[in-house]
Each structure stands twice: as C-alpha cells, then as structure tokens.
Symmetry: D2
Subunit: 299 residues, 4 copies
C-alpha cells in the first residue's frame, strides 16, 4: 500500500504587530498577534524540497506588516479578509489562506480625569480572536474570544448526579463557579459589511449575562444557554463552540478548627480541572466548508 502526502499547510505564526494611528495628536493603538497559513499544491516542496511554488513564511510576515499600513486593522476581521484575499488572488500557487488573529486590548490612561492622547495600559487577560479562511469555497469568518475569566460566587449547584463505586464528591446546592472561557462563533452568508465590533461586543455581553443570571445546575447547562442566546440574538451566526475549564474552588474545611466556613473561604485549585466542550448549531445554516479546517491541528 502506497504512502502518500496527506493534508498540509504552512505559514508564519505569531507575528507581533503593533499599529499606531497618529493622524492627529490623539493616537490609536491596535496590538495584534497574526498567524498566516497557506494551502495549495505544495506537494513538490514536501516530496522533493522544490521551493518554486512556496511563498516563504518570511514574505508572509512582511505582507502582514505592509497590510497593516495600507489597510485598516480595525476591525481585525476586515484586515484578515483583506490579507487572505491578497495571498489567494495575488500569489498564483496559493489556493487558500487562513489568517488567525489575536487582539490584545489597551485602555487609555486618564490623567487628572482627562484621557491621555498617547498612553495606554494593557487591559484584562481576555483576548479577542478571529480566524479567516479564504479559498475555493469562499470566505469564512470565525469570531471569538479566549481567556475570559469569569466567576460567580453563588447561583450555582451540582447535585443529583450519577454515582458509582468511585464516587466521593458531595452534592452541593451552592458553590463557586468559575471558568476561563474560549468561544468561537462562525458567521455564515456575506462576510463583507458585517459590523464586527458590534457583534463582538454583543455576543460577549450576552454570554456574560447568561453566565451571571442563569441559576446553574452544571457548567454544561450554562454553556449551552450562553451559546443558544448568542445564536438567538445574531441570525448571521451559524454555530458557536465553547470550551470551558471548570476552575474548581474548594471550600476549605473549617470544622477541624471548631469554626464555620459558610461559603466564605475557598482554595482555588490549579489542576485537575473539569473540561466542558459544547456547541450550539443553527439548523439549516450553510455548511462550514473549510471554515474550521486546521483550526486546531490537522483536519
């Protein structure tokens, strides 16, 4: 049986690109981590080392820099679409390009109550993400966020679960629930002209509201309702995928010290953690095509 080349792609990962807009005294900053990946008939490069069809990853990096000068970087989805189309349209051997972007937020500092023109501090840990694929089946955009660390100190139970001989966990009516959310939502239909910043703010806000206000019987339930609410609010979203560690906060046992601990002092544990993965899908929405391809390793 023959051994053949399977799926492959190559590119430049984690180009750390900072764009300053300085058209007037009040500057703007956009801080990005850009990863580009190319697909096409690069078989000769793999099989024989023939580079004649290979656009070097160094050139991809240069292109990302130049595009940040000649095209808007805000919203990041438009920048990514433009850069991906450049690779596919302008570089003959490239059949499809995937651009993954992380956006780090900065907050303008205030001095004596007045916003400063050109100084910022890094905002929270949360990172906005985008994955743009342009190829033979069109243009796809997956918008998302990661590292949104969120916690509720009540309004969460976990009980009436299946037990077996290895069960030691006690059921609880009231616990701390915390996670570091990763969410990615795929937009179907026309991707040009979408108000990406509004959609991002809206989906983020809706998911936080559901996390906060839903009385949770399990993180699974909370995730589903977060995802469903996002799809209900934005008809352009075809599906959403959520990955959420259950960051355990264990109530410290104070009975040993003759005192009580009524949900007040917790040990925040590192590992192990629960890991819940869920998705919500709009029935009848256009198929994903290559939107998720290679999004986390080979297809």
């Amino acid at each position: 049986m023959a051994i053949v080349l399977g799926p492959h792609q190559y590119g430049k990962a984690e180009t750390r690109l900072v764009r300053i807009v300085r058209d007037d005294a009040r500057h703007e900053i956009t801080d990005l981590n850009v990863t580009t990946a190319m697909r096409g008939n690069f078989d000769a490069a793999y099989l024989e080392g023939d580079q004649s069809a290979v656009l070097p990853t160094d050139t991809q990096k240069n292109s990302a820099y130049v595009w940040a000068r000649t095209h808007p970087v805000d919203p990041i989805e438009e920048y990514g679409l433009s850069l991906a189309r450049h690779f596919v349209d302008d570089v003959e051997p490239i059949d499809a390009a995937r651009i993954e972007i992380e956006k780090f937020d900065w907050t303008r500092v205030a001095v004596d109550g007045v916003e400063h023109d050109h100084t910022w501090v890094r905002s929270g840990q949360e990172i906005r993400t985008a994955a743009i694929t342009v190829g033979s089946d069109g243009a796809h955009v997956i918008q998302g966020l990661k590292d949104l660390v969120i916690l509720k100190s009540t309004g969460s139970a976990f009980k009436d679960f299946l037990t077996d001989e290895f069960t030691t966990l006690a059921p609880t009516d009231d616990r701390v629930m915390a996670t570091s959310l990763v969410a990615k939502w795929r937009v179907s239909g026309e991707v040009d002209g979408v108000d990406w910043n509004a959609m991002y703010a809206g989906v983020r806000s809706i998911m936080i509201e559901r996390f906060a206000n839903l009385h949770s019987l399990a993180l699974q339930q909370t995730l589903w309702h977060m995802g469903r609410a996002a799809l209900e609010a934005y008809p352009q979203i075809a599906e959403i995928r959520l990955v959420a560690p259950n960051k355990h906060h264990f109530l410290v046992d104070f009975a040993r010290f003759g005192t009580r601990n009524d949900g007040e002092v917790f040990h925040a544990d590192d590992r192990p953690y629960g890991l819940i993965e869920a998705s919500a899908i709009r029935e009848g929405a256009p198929a994903a095509g290559d939107a998720w391809r290679f999004s986390a390793g080979l297809a």
Copy 2:
C-alpha cells in the same frame, strides 16, 4: 430555524498521577498527566441541567487513580485502553470515552556509578503522548510525542523559493534548522497486544535519523520524509501527523564590526516562527473513525 445542541464532551483534564512500583527495593516510577472525556446522550445535562446521566469529572479522576493501582500504567496505551473500556462498559450512559495521557520521563540517578534504587531526576523536555478512544466503532490508539526539540547546525538549505514584491529573505545554502516537534501516529487494526514501548522508541528513532541525515531543502521536505519513514517501518501505522515550528536561528551580521561570522554565532528568535503542518497517509488503511475526534477542539 431551530437552534440545537451540537457536538459535546466533558471530562477531567490534567490529573497529575504518579505511580510508584515498590515491590522490591528497586522502585519504578511512572509520572502521568491524565485527561478523561466522556461522550454519550448527555443532552439533558446541557439543555435542562439534569445530571442523572452524568458521571462527575471528580469520579473520573478517582477512577483514573484507582486504575493506576489495579492495572499496569506501563505502557500508557494499555492503561488508557483499560480505563476507557471501564467507562464505556461499566457506566451505562457513556457511549464513548477518550483518554489522553502525557508521560513525563525520569532518569534514575547514579551514585558512584551505581544506579540508585529510589531516586530519579526529570529527563528532557520531550513528552510521550497517547490518545485512546473507545466507542461504538471500536478502540483507537494514537501514539505520539511533543516538545522534542531538535537542531542541526548544517545540512539544511532554503533557496529557489517563490518571490514577490514583499520578498526580503536571502536564499541560503547552509543554515541552522531547529524545531520543537509534535508528532501523532494512528495505529490501525488490533490495538491489543501491540508492543507500544518498542513502537514508540522505533518511531522516535526513525524520525530523528531522518531529521539528521536528510540533506534538507525545507522543513516541509524533512517532515514528510520523517513521517514516511515511520510508516514504512511500521505497517500498523495508518497515518502520522506532524506539526513543527521552524525555530529561526538568525546569523548575526558581523560585517558591521569588520569581522566575519561564518555560521558561528546565531540569535535564537522567539517569535514569529514558521509553522509547518504535514501528514503522511497509508493508502487503503482503515478509516480513522472517531480516533481524532475532539483531539484538538470540537470536531
């Protein structure tokens, strides 16, 4: 259009489990990071918070610990198969279980030239991995490694590549090539009785030999030949997937100082880096089924 629950799984991630075998004075150590994930009809947990079919992740953790006492943990693939079958066979609502294992190596210390009975130091950064899936389509094993940092100081060129207006990279006949390899190979056919430790050592050795001895015209070419050689040597391997950052080592320009730098002093850069993903496939091998499912995010 209705919004429905899509693919999902849940489990306990990163249970840090150390197993000491102390049957005689010479102890053995196995140091694992175990992640378990369950699949089945858990829709009620997501939709309504009904936990009656949910085996808590805490119980999964306990089971992993007990299994490490009552079943061999070496090779890790057999431990994973046994644990996965327990979940599927013994816990009614569970249709499929996925066990991911990282194994950290330890080297027995020598004192005055004699191996010590019960003291070790952690070996290199390299981690052996396994991903076992047991479900309705049978049992799958993906063996692998990650963080194998390997470098060659010559025997690598990069030239005759495609150029465009954004090209600045100079071609080279001789460069440092380095990567931190992630490789995963899927074994098809009967997974019981395989000599997993021998296969691991063999594939690792073959890949290192190819990296070292192939005169490389690109990292793409090197990866393909590493993967192909593994499949040629082990007919049970149906496919192999390789992800490799091109860890750039830039020759420092000494012309500015009136001296030469003939491949002697390099700056090892962090970011950005090339990222090459490739796979080799055995034509006609059994299909992967659920082997890769959720292996890197939702399917």
Copy 3:
C-alpha cells in the same frame, strides 16, 4: 575552616485563597496568592532533622485560610500584618514572619447597565503586591505592584548616547516606549492605621501620570521621575524600587517595499529586552531593617 549554617527561612508558597463576603445579596470577592515564611532558631531542623520547633508549612497554610475568615482581607496589608503577628506572637520558636501577598483584581460585571451582585470577570494583568515582615525590629510593610504593562506611542526619544566600535543603534527623536513595571515602596514609621488602599491608588496614579506626561529621554529618566514623584506625594514612603524591562517596539523597515512607515507599524519583540533597575530614597528616613530581607532570594 568550619562550615556553618547560614541564613535560612522556610514556609508555604502560593496558597491560592479566595474570600467571598456574603453578608448580603451583594457579594464581595478578594482573590489572593499568599506566601508565608518563618525565621528563628531552626538550626536543629537543618543540622539534625529535629522538627520539634518547626511549625509545618501545612499548618501555615491552614492558618492563612482561617485568618481570612476571622480577619479582614481588605486591605491586604492589614491581613498580612495580623497573620504575621499571629505567627510571631503565638508560636514560640518563631522570631520573625514574612508574608508576601499577590492580589488579583476582579471587575463586577454589568447586566443591562446594572452591576451584578455576585458575578465578576478578572481585570487586567496588573497585580497588587505586599510584603509584610514582623520581627524583632518591628513591623515593616512594602507595598507594590507588578505586571503593569504601559506604553506611550510618542513623547520618548533616545539619542546622544555613548558609542563604541560595537554601536549599531540609530538615535531617535520619537519612539514607542513600553514596559511591564514592577514597583515596590517601603513605608516607614507606624504601619497600623495607614490607608493602604488610598496609598496604592495614589502611587499607581502618580507613576502613570509621570510615565505619560514626562517627555522621556530614556527609560532610566522616566523611572526616576516616577519614583521621586511617589515619594514627594507620600511622606511615609521611605524608598521605592523600580524594575522595568524596556519592551522594544521596532519600526518595520518599509523602504524595501517603496513605501513609508512614519511610526505606524511596529514589531513588538520578546527577547532580548533592556532591563532598567532604579530606586529613589528619602534621605534621613528610618533604615530598612529586615524589610527587604529574603525579598528576592537569600540576604
């Protein structure tokens, strides 16, 4: 020449403690990383393994948890003073105790414009720190912050520097200046009754103002003026120490592409980075005593 035991201390590091105040529907959260260290005549433990004077680190951890229930954790300096005094006053062999605390900030989420009672998201990367030492020379408090990532896109030059045969850096009148600040300031005199939260907010605000408004000729100059301004505003502060990486943002060369880059597109580099360490001292202020001892390794 005899070999003798030198300086030593022992304790429990990184107890991750979350305190919820739930006296009414609107909860409060305090999220801490607590490290305790004990000093005293523990020579027998080191020399002979005699533990009779050793309060185990596990007990120190328990004490930190109980103290978070029975004493306020806000401000962290008062919590640390109280816990340190407990060890010194209540545990006979302990001569001195050092408590180091990191405080992670959380922001209450807003739902429909209304602050939520019991849900928060983690705020920025910045961490508030405190190092409290209680011993024979009294009580010392060092307040601080770390990981305050701050950037200005103009108002920073670097030129007219010393040159030698290895100089390649070009002088510049206008560059991006960015750092991830670590600052620690020692409070002298009476440490009970200080308004720690006001001092923290004040020093942070003053340092940010100086970073933003001072036209910088070097990061060294900026740091000094940040430190001096803090001491000018708070007479209780005897000294301040600042450690600041110069996080280089390199202007990407666009001349190669026939276009311009007037301070607009930068590569944010990881390593190497400049590292500037500076301090401002109030002449005549009380001596530091043991305040800094072991604060970064052995004295």
Copy 4:
C-alpha cells in the same frame, strides 16, 4: 528631607545566543541566555536624561555576540569574565559589570549507534547558571544550577513536628520527596584558571548523592547536607545558597474504595508548595563583596 537616587543598574536581558563551532565535520553547540548589566555614575541619565555616559543596551547585546565569536564560550564562566572585563576596562564610564548566563544543554543524537556530527536534541530541563561580577573589588563568580527536578520515592520522613490548634497534617515515616532545586555557590580567591566544568559536574554530583542517600527527616535537613557536602569537597567555594520548593506528592486515599494504597499512587500537586531556603557558609572565607549584589533585585 531630600529625595535622592538610590542603587541602580541597567543592561540587556536574555540575549539568546547560539554558538556553533564548526572547525571540522563534528560541530559543537553552545546555547546561552546572556544578561548584561552595567553600574557606574549614570546619575545624569536618571536625573536629567543625559545619555552621554550610557552605553546602550543594544551595544551590550552586540558585544555579547562578538565576544562569542572571538572568545571561547565554554566554560561559560570564562566567557562571562572576559565580557565583563571588556565593559569595565574598555568603556570609561562603566565601574562594574555583571554578566548572568543560563546554559541550555543539548545531547548529540546517535544514529545506528554512532554519534551524529551536527544534530542534537535538547537535554533535560536543568539549566546551568553563572553570575560574574567585575568591579572595583575584583572579579566574582557564582556558579549554579536551576530547575534540577529530583525525586525520591522512599527514604524520607516528616514527623515529630510542632503542633498547634491549626495542625491537620499527619506525621509520616515514609513519603515521596521531590523538589526543583536552585543552587548557587560563590567561589572565592583567584577566579582565573578554575576548572569550571569539573567543579560544576562535581557539585551537581555531590548534591544528587546527598539527596539520594541521606535518610531525610525534612527537606531542610537534606538541603543543609547537600550544601555542606559541596563545601567540603571544594575548598574554593565560600558559600552555597539553596532554594527548594517542596513539591508535594499526596497519597490518594483509597480507603473510600475498599482498597489499599501503600505508597503507590500519588497526586502531584501544583500549589501551594513548601519553600525552603538555606545556605552553608565557610567560616573565615573572603567576604562576598559585590558578588551577590542585585543578584535578585536591588541590593
């Protein structure tokens, strides 16, 4: 009371330098992380931004690269001494220079049992360190290692410790003991001509032997005996400082499952951990002078 500039230094941190020796077909590799710091009368730079006495950190980086071409990098202590002396001797305003070096080990790969000429894999996590200071009080060398992860599965007890009302830890006669050792030893007297590689190998070997063979009553005791043994073997070593997390391995309670766990299955916990700091000193040895200055933050 006046506010004055206190202790300060500045330099370039973490220059990642790889040196290949390619004098014949069998290459050699040295992989370093070099940090340089300068001390002197740089007050004008801090107070007024006057750079005329400041050798830029970029130039320091260039010098480190050139020195790696024109001077041996093995042993790292000699490279550091040479580079430090260059800064102090050749650059007028510099009074003292401190060079900190981390060395990452590589293992030559074997192909068919034969060592390969130009291919290596990264060795273990352990890092060799050196801190060289050259200034008005002469030349100092501190040799060391970090991240030496070492574990013994028996031969360690912890009992008969002090108890109080917060004690919950049970005494034990037999436990797993593990740490990730940081050790630094200061060499006094003449630093030129020392066989640094032999000393490093010797001290490392002695410390491992003591860890393995000493029946431990506490990590404190083990550390002291490791340090003392190093000083006994090497009269040039004036003192040694050890920092060691007690990486807890908790025996998993199997009584709940009707089975036993006689020291066989452990949970390796992340945080909190014990943290033991100790030192051994040779009485009458020459004073440290500036050897440790700024070694971990401001003096």
